[in-house]
Symmetry: C2
């Protein structure tokens, strides 16, 4: 028996070089699905695999009522399996993904997913371990102010997940400690931090669309936006350098919610043409839950698209070569 | 983005050296579960992970009624995922395994399984690819005569899976071609071939227990049975060298169904003490579906146990060392 040798499957090592993986991480109802589904639509479903890491919950809704922790706790999830599946997808391999149904709070039949040119992974935990983070080409953390996120969570969970408003408020309280301990610390591991919030130090009237503040940290190479940021578009967007909360320098892009629809549309078209695309920007960009549109969301999505599409062009070293001894 | 490097998870590479993987392969109702569950019980559930590869079916029972092939066809199964999971288990890693329920013919919630000291994998397809075969320390193919297997399949599927006798007979016809094309050819890849059948060239009365014929092919190193095969036990078991159907030489062990219960019991005790175990052989050995006992099955299981337990002793090269550059 001792003579047999296990060899790792080395098929498709070249697949990796055509594959771009993006993580979109943040607390519950921070806008992950809204951001990601617009990206997926713009890229095209046939080029894109979208994965929600909530499928890796360890317990169903009934079981969770007996547990002393929530899905924000790492122990509430199969994080080792999520890590394994992210590695396999990054290697160009298929995985048999578990399926959690948020409407019923139960697990269904697993489904086979195969990586495509773009793999978008949204969830509470995808930046939790070093190995998970290494699977991604770019990582985004969504960081809305807590009061805005709570409003979003109540609206969604009541409308789509069968909870009452009181239940959602109680759950938010129950989760606060684990959010602070396990979810928010992932912010410092993100290459890009996105915050939708009312513009600071302005007295805009109620109903003014939210401004997007996009930190572009120097942990990865960002697209050159100088061609986009011409003087006549500064009313819609501007870039400045600042220090993040931890003192590290970073670029910060402001996409103004108070810009006129016309300025916003013009900016969208300029970025879209910089991506190298023809025709108008995809209609689904900027779509938010209630059927309305957010210009600052659309522009943020375009910046991320610029990023993703740029990553597929040009020379990239094959990261698998070093691992598999190719 | 191009700067990031994906590294494979190298944790627990040492786990492999303590892990023994056995495949038990054969057509539907060839006796896989009967053989394997006795082994698992003898080894002890706490040291053993048992996996049924039927969990990797791609379609549920309803979907299969619309398909032009049966689960015997590779396309009826997630064989790429089975291969991936076998590799991960061989590397000492957990997998999130799909779950197929034979009683209802549907898929349930997947379950986390972690490899233990012994991993027993039974199924229709585990010898289908070279990579799967490389994951095992020993591979067994069950090869009963077709008329006996058909009797077993009718009895089981009617009693446990909610089919009528006519349905099972029709299904057997429907499967014959795929069995010949995809299942039976795996026989030649097995290190050990087990055939329970009436003794050849004897006129034993009806009801005589089946004889086991165990081919021990020189593809792996087998335990030395010379200490066991003393003259006074030859009425219960004997070893001879012969040519297999393809002309290759092999050892063949005959465990006689017509041996007396006393001779069989004595042989069991000798093999069990050769394994190095204390106390009597485990009571569950030899148990067959209807609550009866087969001495030849018990002795076959003891030979396999001898094999498995021997594999965990002594010096073994670490097969992962070559792969992961340890």
């Amino acid at each position: 028996m001792p003579e047999k040798i296990v060899r790792l499957d080395r098929r498709q090592p070249q697949a990796r070089s055509q594959l771009v993986m993006l993580a979109v991480v943040g607390d519950s109802a921070s806008g992950k699905t809204t951001l990601t589904s617009g990206l997926a639509e713009a890229i095209g479903e046939d080029r894109c695999l979208s994965i929600c890491a909530d499928d890796y919950h360890r317990y169903d809704r009934t079981e969770r009522t007996y547990l002393p922790f929530t899905p924000l706790h790492p122990d509430g999830n199969y994080l080792d399996i999520l890590e394994q599946h992210l590695q396999l997808l990054a290697l160009g391999r298929p995985v048999l993904k578990p399926v959690y149904d948020h409407r019923t709070g139960t697990f269904g039949r697993p489904e086979l997913v195969e990586p495509r040119e773009f793999v978008l992974v949204e969830g509470l935990h995808p930046l939790q371990t070093k190995l998970m983070r290494a699977c991604f080409d770019a990582t985004v953390f969504l960081d809305p102010p807590e009061e805005i996120r709570r409003t979003w969570k109540v609206a969604r969970d009541v409308a789509q997940r069968g909870y009452t408003q009181d239940e959602v408020m109680a759950e938010l309280e129950r989760r606060e400690r684990e959010s602070a301990t396990y979810i928010r610390p992932q912010r410092r591991h993100a290459d890009i931090v996105v915050r939708f919030a009312p513009a600071v130090a302005r007295a805009d009237p109620p109903g003014t669309p939210l401004t997007a503040e996009v930190l572009l940290r120097p942990t990865i190479q960002h697209p050159d936006l100088t061609a986009v940021l011409t003087d006549d578009l500064r009313s819609a967007m501007h870039l400045k350098i600042l220090r993040d909360a931890d003192g590290t320098p970073t670029d910060c892009l402001h996409v103004h919610g108070y810009a006129s629809a016309e300025d916003a549309r013009q900016l969208e078209e300029v970025i879209w043409s910089e991506v190298g695309a023809v025709g108008p920007p995809p209609a689904g960009l900027g779509a938010i839950a209630d059927g309305e549109r957010s210009d600052s969301l659309a522009i943020t999505q375009l910046i991320l698209l610029f990023h993703l599409l740029q990553a597929t062009r040009g020379e990239r070293p094959d990261p698998l070569g070093e691992v598999l001894g190719a």
